[in-house]
């Protein structure tokens, strides 16, 4: 086994027990691998000495103040305004927002549905105009409408020619 491979796979958790055993055996008998591991540990020790001298925070209170200022500055304005307007705990504030959002959605739904109803009325009026035009074009009157009062005509207009023939074979214009 090559030293490079042994050192690479030494800490691997995805190798088989047998392979692990082989690697351990190789390292135990290889002076190069042992010296590599030893020097790595020695360097670890050297670095750990530096741990005793951690970089100290210079002017700790100033840094704390800076952190606070930075936080205040970075917090989005609208968020701060909302929290000022609603001095509640975030959980309650969330419920209020959710309620408000539901109300807005409900209003939007109502507005849209009213608009759709208006559109339907408009379409119905247009349909009536179309019926009049159709009857004139085919020299028909509402009286000739067998089913009376334009109700049939409206249904007839809304159907295609072939559909109307199938559905009302006796109606001949």
């Amino acid at each position: 086994m090559k030293c490079k491979y042994a050192l690479k796979k030494m800490y691997s958790e995805s190798i088989s027990v047998r392979m692990k055993q082989e690697i351990d055996e190789h390292i135990a008998g290889c002076s190069y691998c042992q010296s590599e591991i030893e020097s790595s540990e020695n360097l670890g020790e050297l670095i750990r000495v530096q741990r005793l001298n951690p970089p100290a925070v210079q002017n700790r209170s100033a840094l704390l103040h800076e952190i606070r200022l930075h936080r205040e500055k970075r917090q989005k304005n609208w968020r701060r305004r909302i929290s000022d307007l609603l001095p509640l705990e975030p959980a309650y504030r969330r419920v209020v927002f959710l309620g408000a959002a539901c109300c807005v959605l409900l209003c939007a739904f109502l507005l849209v549905s009213i608009h759709v109803i208006d559109e339907d009325t408009m379409t119905a009026n247009n349909d009536n105009d179309d019926i009049e035009y159709y009857l004139q074009e085919h020299a028909l009157t509402k009286e000739t409408d067998l089913f009376g009062q334009g109700a049939f005509s409206r249904t007839f207009i809304s159907l295609s020619y072939s559909e109307s023939k199938i559905k009302y074979p006796n109606y001949n214009n």
């Binding site: 800490y11 958790e13 790595s40 741990r51 952190i67 936080r71 917090q75």
Partner: protein
């Protein structure tokens, strides 16, 4: 995590700024130390610490209390430090001579408790070299060395912070130290 800390986190989550300030006080030293190891520069370390505490404040509601707060906090710190260091390196590369050397002066920033001036000097020399060597390591190996060797976290803790198996931590430590040793051999 102590009961007190858990209480502070809970209060901070509910928008108590004073509780968050106290939490900041608990972690500021360690955060600064790690940020400094990544950047090798006091000003940059301060910037990172400010940004990290802001990020933690904004995302505190995302923290899952089932896991240790420190691991969550230090993961944010490590990621932010790596990103910051990358940005700075890119800036230095573009606007200066392209040499990614640190402008750190460890004499000003380390607190040395030793009274022996010779030992003090050697420590500073070694520290300076280590800091320069660290900058040349790949991110993953650097993170492992900073957290395990410099900051004294256990391998298990490092694995949680870096979100990788413990074996990977050991392997990163081994290869990182090997590269660092090769770098130091040129000077020592």
């Amino acid at each position: 995590m102590t009961v007190d800390e858990r209480l502070l986190i809970e209060k901070a989550k509910n928008g108590d700024r004073n509780a968050f300030d106290r939490l900041t006080e608990l972690y500021i030293e360690k955060a600064y130390s790690i940020a400094f190891r990544y950047t090798g520069n006091e000003g940059d370390a301060r910037d990172i610490v400010q940004e990290v505490f802001y990020k933690v404040y904004i995302n505190l509601h995302r923290y899952n209390p089932k896991f240790p707060f420190s691991a969550w906090f230090f993961r944010i710190l490590v990621n932010s430090s790596i990103n910051y260091a990358k940005r700075q390196r890119r800036k230095r590369f573009i606007f200066q001579d392209g040499n990614p050397k640190s402008d750190v002066n460890p004499v000003d920033v380390t607190v040395d408790t030793e009274n022996n001036p010779e030992k003090k000097y050697i420590n500073k020399e070694v520290y300076q070299l280590l800091q320069r060597g660290l900058e040349l390591l790949p991110e993953k190996q650097r993170s492992a060395i900073i957290l395990f060797d410099f900051e004294g976290f256990s391998q298990q803790e490092v694995a949680v912070i870096l979100k990788c198996p413990q074996g990977s931590v050991m392997s990163r430590l081994f290869y990182g130290r090997r590269k660092l040793r090769k770098f130091l051999e040129k000077y020592l």
